[in-house]
Amino acid sequence: MVDTLLRVRSHMVKNLGRFFVVGVYAFLYMPIIILIIFSFNKAPFPSRWTGFTWQWYHELARTTHLWEAVMNSMFIAVCATVLSLIFSVFFIFFLAQSRRFERVATFFYVNTVVPEIVFAVGLLGLFSFLGVPLGRVTLVVAHTILGMGYAIPNLFARLSELDNRLTEASYDLGASAIETFRFVTFPLLRSSVIATGLFVFMISFDDFVLAYFCSGSTTQTLPLYLLSLMRAEVSPTVNALSAVLLMFSGSLVMVFYSYNSRAKLF
């Protein structure tokens, strides 16, 4: 009797746990799902369902400002990713040789911990002092710092996980430092590099705070464009845009996971 009661109780607790988690996931996804559903709604504002339509998607395709912003974002993200990866891989090579500087790798974490707004303010001051006009280049610079903050600690963690004996064997066989890195270390790190690159790309593409302060008035990135839309009006074109972006992000995440099976970002 007590036995069945206990079993019922543990059954309830288990289901409670399940409900709770489902509830949390529902909470996390409900707004986005509603957003996508309403991108097909005829009404221009959040209101009742008035009918199914593709019109907002058509309007999305016709907004030129939007595509300029997207191109800008893409360009900046690609540049920032490339630069971050180059700097990071170079730095990893450096670390692979001189193990004394291991603490410096974890120091790069600070790039991500410092509130972006503080960093943006500092950069703004630096750029005006140097007389560099704000624009795409300054934003690439800012995003590269962010990117390095994710890439270097990550890649360094991967590097430490590598089997030392492989590199030692390579040295024993007469390879120079560069050759070892090129033919042994880097291929082992390659999937992590690509995965990190994707991650940095998304960080840069979605970044809002740095763009808000450091892009000047000539450069419009996608998040800034969204902000100006949201400040000025509430139009379902944004819904359509979000549906498209969600699919884009989703596919990137899947590519990311195919390159990085044990995603350890922390």
Binding site: K14, V21, V104, G125, I145, F266
Partner: protein, 293 residues
Amino acid sequence: MVRLMRCVTNRFRGENELPFFFGTPAILWQIIFFIVPLLAILFFSVSVFNSQGSLIGFSFASFKYFFSMPYVWVILRSLWLAFFNVSVCFLVAYPVAYYLVFRAGSFKPLLFFLLVLPFWTNFLLHIFAWFFVLEKEGFLNLFLQSVGLISKPLHLLNSSFAVYLMMVYYYLPFMILPLYAALDRFDGDLIEASYDLGATWWQTIWKILIPSTAGGIVTGFFMVFVPSFGEFVIPELLGGDKIMYVGNVVSYLVLGENTGALGGAFTVLSCLVLGLSAFVCYLGIVRLIKMLK
């Protein structure tokens, strides 16, 4: 030029300058574009310039300016928001992370994928999504009315409620993931062992789980506490731009006219407050965990 290059590359096996050559750009970039700007804010917030633009001395006048009521309230409000956010996120995230690691079974990869996806979608889109939920004729009101729970639509948007809700919504994944990572590394058998030795689940949590996942807790704390403090978009768009938080004041001062220096000073001040409170909380957490051990 070629000789120089050969000097760099030639002395291979052992000490040569090749590593330095490759290590320099990252370090240089970091120094010039990260460390120097931060130091510059610090420097400019305390220095005084005359009309020709030359340095004439140092003073804390800007800081004194901010010790007046409105600004103190702004900082306190942001602190409270950050603290509230961390607490609520932690209380919700821990069970979810636990469930994900130990109880999800075959759903684990799917749930994990769904958890990571929000990171990859634009922040502003999430905010925009909540317009559709919280609006007077938005989803939530329509749903509650159709079910019969309320007769008139609730006023949810442009309020502190909306701001706090959105904060939890956005930062929850930031808390779940580190906890998930920490719990993943944790050996599940220890829990079994604890039960076998007669501990209740409450004791198991406090004596076994929490101390072992301390690293994850601390990471999650910082990933939520620090950005929450500097948030400015959410109060503006979801709060009706009625109340200023630290981020609002900083962006307003920094992007305004003739107030850039003030903005820098306020940034430094709020950073100090943020750093101090984060440090205090961190110590608190460490003490707590030590006590539990």
